[in-house]
């Protein structure tokens, strides 16, 4: 059960669990998250961040990348990204890559 309740920090390397799928829905022309008994439509920013969650990248690296891309203050981005990822994790849409993963 521990694996399901992760706490997101700059050092975490989150990824989507195998049973959560991010996919572009051609019919409705929106991105969707598919999970057991649920279909959600994440907004553009959530999609962008989720696409970076590959289990290899750390949250710190994601924040760097986004801060550079949007020429925005790193601190503000970090706060937003961590809050969003934590929320997704609490809902069961994110898990953490094992410590040993390089």
């Amino acid at each position: 059960m521990a694996s399901r309740n992760i706490s997101v920090s700059e050092t975490s390397r989150p990824k989507l669990p195998r049973h959560t799928k991010l996919k572009f829905d051609e019919t409705r022309q929106v991105w969707v998250i598919l999970a057991p008994e649920r279909v959600l439509a994440p907004d553009e920013i959530a999609v962008e961040v989720l696409q970076l969650c590959d289990g290899a990248r750390s949250v710190a690296q994601m924040v760097d990348q986004l801060a550079e891309k949007y020429a925005a203050p790193r601190e503000a981005i970090a706060t937003d990204v961590i809050a969003m990822l934590q929320d997704l994790a609490d809902k069961g849409f994110l898990t953490e890559a094992r410590e040993s993963t390089a």
Binding site: D25, R28, V32, V39, L40
Partner: protein
């Protein structure tokens, strides 16, 4: 299958973080958008004999089932239409030899697949093959928390032990697990233990579903109907557990509508966001819809597309929206909230699917039906009529426990 998909929870996630419920963004070009999830009842065969089974009393025989190729064509067509998830159900979906092949095909065409199973036919190898084929979620029905009650309700020896085993394998294979518990008078006393069982099994979700009374369950109503005290106790237990287990186990609760004042929004409204496909290929607005005589349902074996059937067929349009409604629904402020309740229940209890669901306190038939149910709940008729292809078999006398009143 059990009855809890009736709530159609696919679109009810509560977004707070920029996640919006998809339903609201669907194509405006269609009056009724294609459902996000579809229930596939791939067979009515099942080794269990649950007396509340939501399959029709007239079961589809194995010989009438769609072939592997036909189901694959259906899966491809659904994916093309914009359906995102499929639920493989039954009967017992793993009674079909081609279940792994069908799940694989669903994955190949981009569908997310859930398995709704009684679990007793699964081996670890088969479950693992299903996981490899892309199965993303397993929902296992339980009839109690220990074999005495559970195996008796299931009408199958050793069923409970097998279910526990398969539930463990599911988690070992890293698939999310939902425990589905169908509750009635003769197992409600086990509810607290069932909740603990779900926690011990490391389930993600527990569905506590009170039996819905049509089809087999209606035949067994006298043996299944809980007392009002039992229901009140149930709600207390569920609410307490929902708070205590927040973050560990999500608990969905389906109240029995006989004891509610307003009926359930069955299927989210007829033909609004749900359809299922029967073993023989009929496209149905509800898994019990075939119990309504006089309605013709189109088949995927016809030369019509599934999209056409969904949009245009007479059976879907008959009770869509609010235009068909008689009084008291017609002028009722709740008509867009519950769409007049359940058509199958209206048919089963009043003989006309176009009546207000008698579960509603405003239905002219409510008093009488509620009284009868109340009397039955206090009765001592505990013998089950088991579900099977022979029209049901009455449980041998003397096998029942002592009645478990509230």
């Amino acid at each position: 299958m059990s009855d809890t998909l009736a709530g159609n929870k696919t679109t009810t996630a509560g977004p707070t973080d920029g996640l919006a419920v998809l339903e609201q963004t669907r194509s405006a070009a269609e009056t009724y958008g294609i459902p996000l999830a579809v229930l596939l009842e791939i067979t009515h065969r099942c080794p269990l004999q649950c007396p509340y089974c939501s399959n029709p009393v007239e079961l589809d025989r194995g010989s009438t089932e769609l072939t592997t190729e036909e189901w694959k064509r259906v899966l491809s067509e659904l994916a093309e239409l914009g359906v995102l998830q499929v639920h493989f159900s039954g009967g017992e979906p793993t009674a079909r030899k081609d279940i792994v092949e069908l799940v694989q095909h669903a994955s190949d065409v981009g569908l997310y697949s859930n398995l709704i199973t009684s679990a007793v036919l699964l081996t670890r190898d088969r479950l693992s093959a299903l996981a490899d084929a892309g199965l993303s979620h397993v929902q296992i029905s339980f009839q109690g928390n220990e074999p005495m009650v559970a195996d008796r309700v299931a009408g199958l020896k050793d069923a409970h032990r097998k279910k526990l085993e398969v539930a463990k394998w599911t988690r070992e294979l890293d698939m999310p697990l939902t425990v589905n518990a169908v509750m009635h008078r003769q197992n409600l006393h086990q509810l607290s233990d069932i909740i603990q069982m779900a926690v011990d099994l490391d389930a993600d979700r527990l569905e506590v579903a009170n039996v819905q009374y049509y089809g087999w369950a209606l035949k067994n109503r006298a043996a299944l109907m809980p007392t009002i005290e039992q229901i009140e106790e149930t709600s207390r237990i569920v609410e307490e557990a929902q708070v205590r287990l927040k973050g560990t186990l999500a608990i969905d609760y389906v109240v029995p509508d006989y004891y509610a004042l307003r009926p359930k929004k069955c299927m989210g409204g007829w033909g609004r966001q749900f359809f299922n496909i029967s073993p023989a290929g009929k496209v149905l607005p509800c898994h019990a819809a075939e119990s309504i005589t006089g309605l013709e349902f189109e088949s995927v074996r016809s030369n019509r597309s599934i999209a056409w059937i969904w949009q245009n067929s007479e059976a879907f349009n008959r009770y869509r929206g609010t235009g068909w409604m008689p009084e008291p629904c017609k002028s009722c402020e709740f008509r867009e909230d519950d769409f007049g309740g359940c058509r199958c229940q209206a048919f089963a209890l009043t003989g006309d699917a176009g009546n207000t669901d008698p579960a509603c306190a405003l239905s002219p038939r409510h008093e009488e039906i509620f009284k009868q149910a109340e009397q039955e709940s206090a009765g001592t008729q505990n013998r089950f009529l088991y579900r099977n292809f022979a029209g049901g078999t009455l449980e041998a006398d003397g096998h029942q426990d002592k009645p478990h009143g509230a």
